[in-house]
Structures are given as C-alpha cells and as structure tokens.
C-alpha cells in the first residue's frame, strides 16, 4: 500500500499530485509544448526561408514542402550587394571577441576588488556601475558620436570595442562580484600564508574558482556585443561595419531579397543557438544581475 501524499515541490506551484493529477500533467505538457513551439516557430521561418527559392518565398499559401537550395546563402556570401557578408561577419567576430575579452579581464579584476577589498565609497561605486546597465544606447548616441568623431575614430574597430566593453562591464562586474564573494575568504587567506601575493592569489586561486561565472558572463557579453545595432549603425559605415549594419542596409532596399536577408539572419543567429545551451544554467542570474539565481 502506498499512502498518497502531496510532494512539497508540487505544492509550491499550488498544484497537488494525487490520483487525479494526470489531466493536469497532460495539460501542462500541452501548454508547455504550444509555448515552446511558439518560441521556436520564427527560427523555423528564418531557416526555411533562407533555403527556399524566390518563388517559394512569395508563395501564397505558404509552401511547406520544398526542395531546399543554398542559392540565397551563396548570393549573400559571394554575390549580393557591394561587399560579401563574410566581411561583416569577420568584423562582428573580431569586435565581439575583443570587446568580450577586455570586458571580462577588466570586469573580473574590478569584481575581485569589490568583493575582497574595502574602501571608502565602495557601495556607491558598485551601485553606480550597476546602474550603467540601464544606459539606453539611443540616449548616449549623440554625445558618443561626437566624441568618436572628434577622436577621429569613426568607422574604426577600436571605437566599437571600447563602447561594447563599457556596455558589458556592469554585467561582468556584478555577476563575478557575486561569484567571488561566494568563495570562502579563508581559502585566499590560506594562500596568503602559503606565500602568494594578492595578485597571484587572484590569478591562481580566485579566478579558477569562478570559472563557471567567467564562462557565462563571457558568453553573455559576446552575445550582447554581437547583437548590438545602434552604435554600430551610427559609428561605422564600411570598414568596421558589423553584421547588424549589413542587415539594416538591406532594409533600405526592402521587399526584394528575402532569401538573402534570411540567410544572413541565419548566420547572425547560429552562434547564439550554439552558445545558448552552454549558458542556460547561469542565464537568469546573468540577465537579472544576480538578483534571481
């Protein structure tokens, strides 16, 4: 005989598991599946449109069965417009990678400083850094455009790298600060007694211990840099233009080459698809600044 009782996990959701639970379970599956489908459907549209022929793209009713073709990808990469998408892709990779690297390095250092050293005004400084997360690019674009212009850095990689670094610093600092302060301080004190200097401890003890935090903040930073549109749009034209700039350029001649758009869109989304699963454990903590773990 099994005495049927409520499990508290289920109770959290206000739902009881009992003999009569199966319709609720099924209903859950149904709702969850529909929602997941809703979330995934546009991805399906992007990829299939990129693989369709032009006729299929404009077909009414939409064509579900079609013979995939790589023509759109080919066009986007090698034929279309003035420059190949590869050029923009490379710019995006360079700028995201370098800005992420710099943001993580500077951010990790500062985060460690915030977690482990006390100094006057620390709290205010930390919360100011947090609030930079909310800086709306559009409100900063006017002064930053003029600053970059005066520095003669319009259409340069370095300008975007710096701006993206600043954009991602608050994320890196806040997340890693949380990770660092979770390390028992005695571990670092032990290293101090063992003969390591503070910076050596940072490098050899603290950093290895927050590796999961580093990985997830790096991925998130890279995604944010990769996705950023407005600064790139305003500050670059050709030499340092990134993928979003390329996509935005399309939309000026809108209505024509959907297949090629979607092919570029696919390329813009693909890296994220790959990273997403690596991220899922720390995503919420990252996106809410450690407020929700």
């Amino acid at each position: 005989m099994t005495v049927g009782l409520v499990r508290s996990k289920d109770l959290k959701a206000g739902v009881r598991r009992s003999a009569a639970a199966w319709p609720i379970g099924t209903l859950r599956y149904l709702v969850a599946a529909i929602f997941t489908g809703f979330c995934l459907f546009p991805f399906y549209v992007i990829v299939t449109t990129a693989l369709k022929t032009e006729t299929a793209i404009f077909a009414w009713p939409p064509v579900w069965n079609f013979k995939p073709t790589l023509q759109s990808f080919y066009n986007a990469l090698f034929v279309f417009g003035g420059r190949s998408a590869i050029f923009y892709l490379i710019n995006s990779v360079i700028i995201s990678a370098v800005s992420t690297f710099v943001a993580v390095v500077l951010g990790a250092m500062a985060a460690y400083g915030f977690a482990r050293f006390s100094f006057a005004g620390k709290r205010h400084l930390a919360f100011w850094i947090l609030s930079t997360r909310f800086a709306p690019p559009v409100a900063f674009i006017v002064p930053i455009y003029l600053m970059v212009q005066k520095a003669g850095m319009l259409d340069s990689h370095i300008a975007l790298i710096l701006i993206y670094t600043a954009m991602n610093l608050s994320l890196v600092i806040w997340i890693l600060r949380g990770f660092f302060s979770e390390i028992p301080i005695e571990i670092e004190e032990a290293a101090l007694v063992d003969g390591y200097s503070r910076l050596q401890i940072f490098w050899r003890v603290a950093l290895p211990l927050v590796r999961p935090g580093i990985v997830s903040t790096a991925i998130l930073s890279a995604i944010f840099s990769w996705n950023e549109f407005l600064y790139a749009m305003v500050l670059t034209q050709s030499k340092a233009a990134t993928l979003p700039v390329y996509l935005a350029g399309f939309s000026n001649s809108m209505g024509l080459a959907w297949g090629e758009y979607m092919a570029v869109g696919t390329m813009a989304v693909l890296p994220i698809l790959i990273f997403t699963f690596a991220l899922q454990k720390h995503l919420v903590r990252g996106l809410t600044f450690g407020a929700v773990k």
């Binding site: 409520v6 508290s8 996990k9 289920d10 109770l11 206000g14 739902v15 859950r28 599956y29 969850a32 997941t36 979330c39 546009p42 549209v45 992007i46 449109t49 793209i57 009414w60 500077l106 250092m109 500062a110 400083g113 915030f114 482990r116 050293f117 006390s118 709290r123 930079t132 800086a135 709306p136 690019p137 559009v138 409100a139 006017v142 002064p143 003029l146 600053m147 710096l162 701006i163 600043a166 610093l169 301080i185 004190e189 101090l192 910076l199 995604i223 996705n227 407005l230 305003v234 935005a248 939309s251 869109g265 813009a268 989304v269 997403t276 995503l283 903590r285 809410t288 407020a291 929700v292």
Partner: protein, 311 residues
C-alpha cells in the same frame, strides 16, 4: 572579534610599522578597480555630461557653422513639440502593453513549467532562444511573417476564417504587431526568471506551511506570492527599461509609421539626431530620457540593495 569577513584586506588605520602592508593593499585595490572605472568614466559618465552640454546648443550635424549656445530653448521647444508628445505616448502604450502581457504570461507559464514532469526541462531550455537572438533579426523575421501578401501570420488568420490584414500598415494594428513581436521575444525571459525564483523558494518553508495547516490557496497567497515579490519587481523594472530603449523592431518593421503610430521615443530621437540631423535637440531628448531611466534604474538598485542587506 570574529570580525567581518573582508578584514584581512581591510584598510583600517594600522600602526606606522605596518603601514607598508596597508600601502600594498591599497595599491592592489586600485590596480584592480581603476581600469574598469576609467572605461566607465569615459564612456558613461562623461557622455552624460557632454549630452547636457550639447543639449544647450544649436548643433546641426553636417553644417559648416559651429554650434551656438542656446540655453534651454531646445527643452522649451520639446515642451511644445506635438511629435515629441506623441512619441512619449506611443512609448508608454508600447511599454504598458508589451511588458504587461509578458509579465502575466510569463508568471503563469512559470507555474506550468515548475514541475518535475519528464521532458519539461528540455522544453524550458528551448524557450531560452528568443531572448538571446539579435533584435534586428527578430524584427526581420516578424516583418516577413506579418506581410500582408504572403506572411504566415496572415495565412494562419485566413485558415481560421479571417480575411487578410495589413498588420504593419494600419494604425493601431502596427503598434500591436510590434507589441506581439516583443512579447514573443521577452515572455520566455520573464518566464525563466519566475521559474528560477520559484525553484529558489525554500522547500522547507512549504513543509512548515503544511505542518502549520495552511490550505493550498493560503499557501499561494501567504507564502508563494510574497516570496516572489522581489523577483516580480526586478523583472518588471528590467523589462520596462529595456522596452523603453528598444528601437530595433520599429527600425525593421515600421520605421515609425504609419503616420507616427509606432514612433516610439528612441526612434524619434534617432531620426532627429541622424536624419534631420539636429544634435542639440536630440541631446535634449536624450537628457530627458536619461532622467526617466535613472529613476527606473534607481528603483532597481534599491531593490537589489535591500536584498544585499537582508541576505
């Protein structure tokens, strides 16, 4: 004694002999924090001050005349600018609708996903995707899907018995379409935050509640809901700020049209600054927007601060 945990790095007042130790500690502190601090100073604090400066000038891009001091006249002009007022109103409508729907849907869905049923975890991980995708691509694909002639949304609509709808070119519908797109992108995020918050609720509290004799609805209203309050506030603020600054969807899907019905504040600011291009006027708008965002972000900071204190 058993002093606070960061004491070993503390910069108290040491006796002169151990000054050397204290100096090394201070140096280490600044070595660590200064680089990030300088970057943020240059690219966050300085631009704000600079924006204030620009906003007090007549400053036209691509014109030979140098900028001219204008006092507060840019702000004055904003006050009487009907287009500005419209854009604030549109932004407000957009935020209330989009964030409202996202919060409600996300909250409900979090409970649906909060179960140990097999396979749910996989579904949940899949829903992560929209929040990480390039907003421009989101705009692109929904622009395509909302197309009047061959869009798949219209096709669904027709299958369900409707007639074709010009989603992006008809007044209120255009804004609703952008709202729908935003809802698609951000509901999963809201759901995931609530889900994480639900998971983090301590199980023991529910055991105590059952021992204390609370009924299911009492548990929800007296325990679950109050415990979720911080998460609700945090996600609400994050979403509100992000919706306020979002520009990509409008850029891709409507360019502010038709007739300004989707001209959100960031879009108006952008076109003023870089298409008109009146930088002084745009900067004045930017300052007002920054003020608004600062208020919202302070709410967020308060929330986090209070959590830090109670943790």
């Amino acid at each position: 004694m058993e002093a606070s945990r960061t004491d070993y790095f503390s910069l108290g007042e040491p006796k002169p002999d151990s000054m050397k130790l204290a100096v090394e500690r201070r140096r280490a502190t600044w070595l660590l924090i200064a680089p990030a601090f300088v970057v943020l100073l240059g690219l966050n604090l300085f631009p704000i001050v600079y924006a204030l400066y620009i906003s007090c000038h007549y400053w036209m891009l691509a014109r030979p005349q140098p900028p001219r001091f204008a006092g507060l006249s840019n702000y004055q002009e904003l006050f009487f600018d009907a287009r500005f007022r419209n854009s604030v109103l549109v932004s407000l409508k957009f935020i209330v609708l989009a964030v409202g729907i996202e919060m409600l849907l996300g909250f409900g869905l979090a409970f649906v996903f909060n179960t140990r049923l097999r396979g749910m975890a996989t579904l949940r991980k899949l829903t992560l995707l929209p929040s990480l995708v390039m907003p421009l691509v989101v705009g692109l694909v929904w622009f395509y899907m909302f197309n009047e002639n061959f869009g798949i949304v219209n096709w669904f609509w027709v299958v369900l018995g409707g007639t074709r709808v010009p989603f992006l070119t008809q007044g209120a519908l255009a804004l609703l379409s952008i709202v729908a797109t935003d809802v698609w992108q951000w509901t999963p995020f809201v759901m995931l935050v609530f889900f994480a918050a639900l998971q983090a609720l301590p199980e023991y509290v529910y055991e105590a509640a059952r021992i204390d004799g609370l009924s299911g609805s009492q548990i929800f209203f007296r325990v679950t809901l109050p415990l979720l309050r911080p998460a609700i506030l945090i996600v609400l603020i994050i979403r509100a700020v992000d919706a306020l600054r979002s520009l990509e969807l409008v850029f891709m899907m409507t360019k502010g049209g038709p007739a300004g019905d989707t001209e959100v504040l960031p879009w108006y600011l952008y076109t003023t600054g870089f298409m008109s291009p009146d930088l002084g006027y745009a900067a004045a708008m930017a300052v007002l927007m920054l003020a608004l965002v600062t208020i919202l972000s302070q709410l967020f900071v308060r929330q986090l601060e209070s959590r830090e204190v109670t943790r």
